[in-house]
């Protein structure tokens, strides 16, 4: 763990909203401690949308739970520092953290079908959150809940406020969940696969809503997803996670135009295109992602990487300062050539 920095009394002008440094998370398991997140650092600026993209088991959800302090403290060991508006939140007491959760950092869960308590109306659940953080009369909180529901696109919010979750469609529940997350006007929204459980036409509506809310409310959004298409449409910056590490970071345009890490190459190539010529075969990444207890000490992707060489047994450098960088030993000047070689070789005759 790095030496704790004393937070400045007032954050400097351009300080990031969220500054995660050297975050590591491990779990107690039958075979000892298993590292799910290994030395991850990133920042989120006010009002930006950062996407963390990765497949299942890459550690993206664990990262998010650590930010909210929702990991089970008895089985989870968290290392590193997380500064939110200059406050170190990992070291906070549960009571202090509760004042931030839901008020300054809102959560949007993956599955709207299960993320709302089934026995209360959505209005009740929004009012509960508002009144947990503000001294406000029930009637006033209910009024605000109705306004929020209107804001997220309910046609008849005064009626919807008394609906139970099971009476709403999946898309409407996800909107209700977004209204809930927004109810205390948080500076940061963490969205965990917010559209994965939704149909594409509904997903389009919800993504549209998220973008509009970012503009109207000014909330920064951490968007966790596995869908490169979603990333490409809404994110300002992208971090690609693999086996508990951020393997590539950059602006969305840069990462899609000129991906640097062989894993990103493979990931982008395995998505079947919707336009242009169809390939006879998709270019899949051979093998399987490692499980948390089988991550190699060196580059986590090396066992599946066709360009792996001796150096990959060591941990690749993580150039965090750069605007676009990859955690990889390949010579940056060679990458363009290697990538087209990979795409070429995979193309069937």
């Amino acid at each position: 763990m790095p030496a704790p920095q004393t937070p400045p009394a007032t954050p400097p002008a351009r300080a990031p909203l969220l500054d995660v440094a050297n975050l590591s998370v491990s779990f107690a398991s039958d075979r000892g401690r298993v590292k799910a997140i290994d030395d991850v650092s990133f920042t989120v600026q006010e009002g930006e949308i950062l996407s963390i993209v990765g497949e299942s088991g890459s550690g993206k959800t664990v990262t998010l739970l650590s930010l909210l302090g929702l990991n089970d403290p008895r089985t989870t060991f968290v290392d590193g520092s997380v500064l939110f508006r200059g406050q170190r939140i990992l070291e906070m007491s549960d009571r202090q953290m509760r004042r931030i959760r839901g008020k300054d950092i809102g959560l949007i869960s993956q599955d709207p079908m299960t993320a709302l308590t089934p026995v209360y109306t959505i209005g009740w659940q929004i009012v509960e959150q508002i009144r947990a953080h503000e001294r406000i009369a029930k009637a006033a909180a209910r009024k605000r809940a109705i306004d929020l529901l209107a804001e997220v696109g309910f046609a008849n919010p005064a009626e919807a406020v008394d609906r139970y979750p099971h009476q709403l469609s999946g898309g409407m529940r996800q909107r209700a969940l977004i209204a809930l997350a927004l109810s205390c006007n948080p500076a940061l929204l963490v969205a965990d696969e917010p559209t994965t459980a939704l149909d594409v036409t509904v997903q389009a509506q919800v993504l549209d809503l998220l973008l509009r809310l970012r503009d109207d409310f000014g909330s920064a959004i951490i968007l966790i997803t596995h869908d490169m298409g979603v990333v490409s449409e809404v994110a300002d910056r992208v971090h690609v996670m693999y086996a508990g590490r951020i393997v590539e970071r950059g602006t969305t345009d840069a990462v899609f135009a000129d991906p640097q890490h062989p894993y990103t190459w493979g990931l982008l190539a395995s998505i079947p295109p919707l336009h242009g010529a169809r390939q006879a075969r998709l270019r899949s990444i051979p093998g399987l992602p490692p499980t948390a207890d089988g991550i190699p000490a060196g580059c986590g992707f090396a066992p599946r990487c066709r360009f792996a060489f001796d150096a990959c047994a060591a941990r690749p450098p993580d150039r965090r300062g750069d605007s676009h960088s990859a955690m990889c030993f390949l010579d940056p000047s060679d990458r363009e050539r290697l990538r087209s070689e990979m795409l070429e070789r995979e193309r069937p005759a």
Binding site: G170, V200, T201, V202, T252, L274, R278, L282, I285, L288
Partner: protein, 332 residues
Amino acid sequence: MSATAPPRPLLAATDLTKHFTVGKTFWPGSGRTLRAVEDVSLEVFPGETLGLVGESGSGKSTLGRCLTRLYTLTAGRLLFDGRDISAAKERALKPVRLNMQMIFQDPSASLNPRRRVRDIVGDVLHVHKIRPAAAIEDRLAELMGLVGLGGDYLDRYPHEFSGGQRQRIGIARALAVEPKLIVADEPVSALDVSVQAQIVNLFNELQERLHLTYVFIAHDLAVVRQVSTRVAVMYLGSIVETGETDALYSRPAHPYTEALLSAIPQPGRRARGNRILLEGELPSPLDPPRGCKFSTRCRYAQARCRTDRPAPTAIAGGSRTVACHFPLVAGA
């Protein structure tokens, strides 16, 4: 398809309809009719892959189960290999089932967790006596090879496998009876992208090697495009459009297909402006709109669309059908 005489369809459905009754109580005549699949006609030709796409509630899974006769049909005719199986009883269906297998979405839910792969895959071989007992071991090894798993995996239990491997086992089980037709219901949607690509490729390889015919049901239009020769698009229990994959994707004829295609976020494209956002919610299949089912959300809808339900009509020289009064692609 070759240019010779049109081949006989392997599976042909005419006006297939499936209703469910919901909210039925003690009293006779109570309950409401849920029109899950309504008047669906389609043909599946030998060696092709028919992609069936639609959003949740479109009835695509119900249709899949009707095509394999896992459901009894409310109405309509279903021919498999020229034989009418619309009303066939379970006993009469048994030989048909050997030629027609289904693969499901969730590989962990459709494999019995307490049985070894050997038993899961081998059971059908024993039950149907497809091979002499002595040859079963060889056949099991062959099947595992076909789906890209080693024979040494045979004595493991499902939970020891990853999602992609479990789907391979599901495929091996379906292949065990040497079927002609496989109906796959969302077979890759529970998988990660990189693994999904492997399974999609496997589907294509198996089709070439074993001359299989697929009905591939999925909500992911990009995956369906990758595997299908023809595509049928469903909305609220009806097929709104069918056509050759490339033609349908490049020039959708039905406004719903157009909206669906434009809604899919594409990696590397930030064009959010020209997206068609569908307004409102999917109507309830308990009370579908009177005219065209899509008229309540269609941006081209006119008065006629709200009163007359359009029938599927051939367009583009008969290679495509569309159920729309004002198709986006010019008529026959």
